[in-house]
């Protein structure tokens, strides 16, 4: 764990950056970010599986105005990294990785608030640049804010990844052999949660007929697929 860990942190920074601060091209969404985390740490299909599980549930939190939303993308990316590092299958470590990811998405809210307070400090510095008509300083301050976001995201991913791995190895790893655990329920449970979130976002009385039509087509497609 050397260069791959450094790359994991750097991409984590980019995930945080793309989530909110710069671009928002959706490369930070779990589907893409978790696959990247899996690829960096050597098991992209498992990364993709985490991405599929955590893609939809966070979309119900809409970043409108000043609403505080969970850092779902960073949490999912971290969950994928921890899952790939600790396990190769749906076992207790996999559930632990998901739980760590969900916890970080929540813990990240006040941490992000702290970053935004630093941003306000930068804007107040920009007031002074405004008095001097100094456009270069305005550019420097804005790029600094983007740089801070990158470092914040990378640090968040790196620190919590190490914390999760150390915590697992110190306390929970012995449990895997001591208890019998079936992890197969967790992916469908969370996929169901994602499907529930999607239905919540789109389906209402006016659009219900489209949902029924889509569900019918899905059933026909699958029956056709099974027969062939």
């Amino acid at each position: 764990m050397g260069w791959d860990f450094a790359l994991f942190c750097l991409i984590g920074g980019l995930v945080y950056l793309d989530t909110d601060a710069v671009g928002q091209f959706m490369i930070s969404q779990p589907l893409a970010a978790c696959t990247a985390a899996g690829a960096i740490l050597g098991n992209w299909p498992l990364g993709l599986a985490v991405g599929l599980i955590l893609q939809l549930p966070y979309l119900v939190e809409i970043p409108v105005g000043g609403t505080k939303v969970a850092l779902g993308n960073v949490g999912a990316y971290l969950a994928a990294g921890v899952a790939v590092h600790l396990t190769g299958q749906y076992d207790l470590a996999f559930a632990y990785a998901l739980l760590i990811g969900v916890a970080v998405s929540w813990v990240g809210i006040p941490l992000q608030d702290g970053l935004r307070r630093i941003n306000l400090h930068l804007v107040k510095k920009a007031d002074a640049a405004g008095d001097d008509g100094n456009l270069q300083r305005i550019s420097r301050l804005q790029y600094s804010a983007a740089g801070l976001a990158l470092v914040f995201g990378a640090a968040l991913c790196g620190l919590f990844f190490l914390f999760a791995v150390v915590l697992w190895k110190s306390f929970f790893s012995t449990m895997t052999s001591a208890v019998s655990f079936r992890g197969e329920f967790i992916p469908p449970l969370l996929l169901g949660a994602g499907a529930g979130a999607a239905l919540w976002l789109f389906v209402n009385r006016r659009t219900l007929r489209f949902m029924i039509f889509g569900a019918g087509l899905g059933a026909v497609y699958l029956i056709f697929d099974l027969i062939i």
Partner: protein
């Protein structure tokens, strides 16, 4: 002094950073000024004029980050007109405030509530067949409209100037919201049945039951306004308990 292609690309590039310094007090104001810098350098020659521009624009500003391009284009055109004495600076501020509200509402509704979940659902369905096709479809379906809004917003806003309040294609965007709602509902229905039957085929009835349980519980959690991380943590604990018991 028209907006040439170099300025257009430069401002579009900078507008990607518009949210970098987002904060609760002034929101996008610094990002807005930062995006306008390439043009502001040409419109205002002296530091006094530039300082006056910055003081007027470093106050509060908030809208959807993609749709901010419309306001950016219109305000730059109006700044040029203000230099010629055709528009009062107060008028620019008034139009900025007016546009930012309506564009913010349309942008949030179109991009965050509709396009993002819809493209994610399409990406998820396709990922089950081929991971990279799914990923590519997700990014392309989302980013084509995204890049269009940024580019068209700046060009259209600049062409319209103060007239943007009248010419802005809000009705077209609202129609797009309506279409995406229907499409999202259709794809949502497809996704639920597809995943449900896949779980049943791959794992059997317990997995299909877990899927339905997750779906119903998530809808209840959203209705109760429980935050997504807490809802997911509760579902995970439920899954852990079920995995230990059965």
């Amino acid at each position: 002094m028209r907006l040439n292609i170099i300025d257009f690309l430069h401002i579009t590039w900078r507008s990607l950073f518009i949210q970098a310094s987002w904060n609760r007090e002034r929101m996008l104001s610094l990002g807005f000024c930062f995006s306008a810098v390439p043009r502001i350098k040409k419109i205002f020659q002296t530091t006094v004029q530039r300082g006056d521009y910055l003081r007027r624009n470093l106050g509060f500003f908030n809208t959807h980050p993609y749709f901010a391009s419309y306001v950016l284009g219109a305000s730059l055109k109006m700044e040029e007109q203000a230099q010629k004495g055709k528009v009062a600076p107060a008028e620019i501020e008034k139009i900025k405030t007016h546009l930012s509200r309506s564009l913010g509402a349309v942008g949030d509704s179109l991009m965050w509530r509709r396009l993002k979940p819809l493209s994610a659902m399409l990406g998820m369905i396709l990922s089950l067949h081929d991971a990279f096709t799914g990923l590519a479809a997700f990014l392309i379906v989302y980013n084509l409209p995204h890049i269009f809004v940024r580019g068209h917003g700046l060009a259209f806003g600049y062409r319209s100037g103060g007239e943007l309040v009248k010419t802005i294609p809000l009705a077209k965007y609202q129609f797009a919201v309506h279409l995406l709602s229907n499409a999202g509902s259709f794809v949502g229905g497809f996704l639920v049945v597809y995943f449900l039957i896949s779980e049943k085929t791959a794992g059997g009835l317990p997995e299909a039951g877990a899927f339905i349980c997750g779906l119903i519980l998530m809808i209840i959690f959203i209705k109760w306004k429980i935050a997504a991380p807490l809802a997911l943590a509760m579902l995970l604990l439920l899954g852990l308990t079920a995995g230990l018991i059965f």
